[in-house]
Amino acid sequence: MGVLTQAAPGKMKEKIGSTGGRPVLLTVISIIAVVSFVAAMAMSLFYAGTDVTQGHVQRIFYTHVSSFAGAFVVLGAAVIGGGMYLWKRDVKWDTFALAGIEVGFVLSLVNLFTGMVWARPIWNTWWTWDPRLTSAAIMVLTYAAYFMLRAGIENPDTRRRIASVYGMLAFSTVVVTFIIIRIRPDTIHPAVIGASPQNAEGGFELTSSMLATLSFAMVVWSVFVPWALMWWRIRLENVSERVNALRAKALED
């Protein structure tokens, strides 16, 4: 509860100019996120075996897959945040959803760009209008539209309400991106879990060192990294709200 709600006026004083107001857990989570991020990177670079047909570029795939998993988790969390806001009408839930969507947006961009870098040597092109690539791009655009929608509404209550509804609707594009390689057999995108489509290009067998690396990266990108980032983003939003309130008060005086 405490981390999401705005600080009480008395608490605000001690915050100024110091890190005194920062919860210990946030510091711990941030350190864990940074250390595990570096560890996951190091594992993918030095521990996992080299793929014989693709060479070293295959090591990107650990981040590519896990960043999508992370985006899936935080964008899903934003759906819960949106639903809870509509139910409880507590600002903290909308802030939670906004933080989730912003972090999820960046994670899906990481997913998209790492995929492009991988595709260049393997598929011999940066981009191809493959169903899965197209739906991933549409997913990013949907969340870009979310920010535009937010920016276009002046009344804060209307903004939160409508953004909550749209954040829930937008998740449908995430689901489509996730399941499209199962319903469109003409994709060339390989599936990591389950059977790949028959015309998938660039798929490979996971050895045990690869599987260990992938599992660790999955945990890092879908738990620690988004947890720390979302928490910081929520704190940013709370300060921003406080400053806005103070500005409004200063203008009144």
Binding site: K13, I16, G55, H56, I60, L109, P121, W232, V239, A250
Partner: protein, 53 residues
């Protein structure tokens, strides 16, 4: 590793480095954006607090 000589592993290291650059770059950008904004707003908050006493 006896068969290693017959296998030609393609050299795609340059793309790996580019990918790493993209990953680290984007994460740093996000963290930097949040922290810069956060600091600015904290300063604003302090200034506004002082004005309003």
């Amino acid at each position: 590793m006896n068969g290693a000589e017959t296998l030609v592993i393609p050299d795609t290291t340059a793309y790996l480095l580019l990918g790493l650059g993209v990953i680290v770059g984007m994460m740093v950008l996000l963290v930097a954006r949040i922290s810069v904004k956060f600091r600015q707003l904290e300063k604003d908050e302090a200034a506004l607090e002082e004005i309003s006493g």
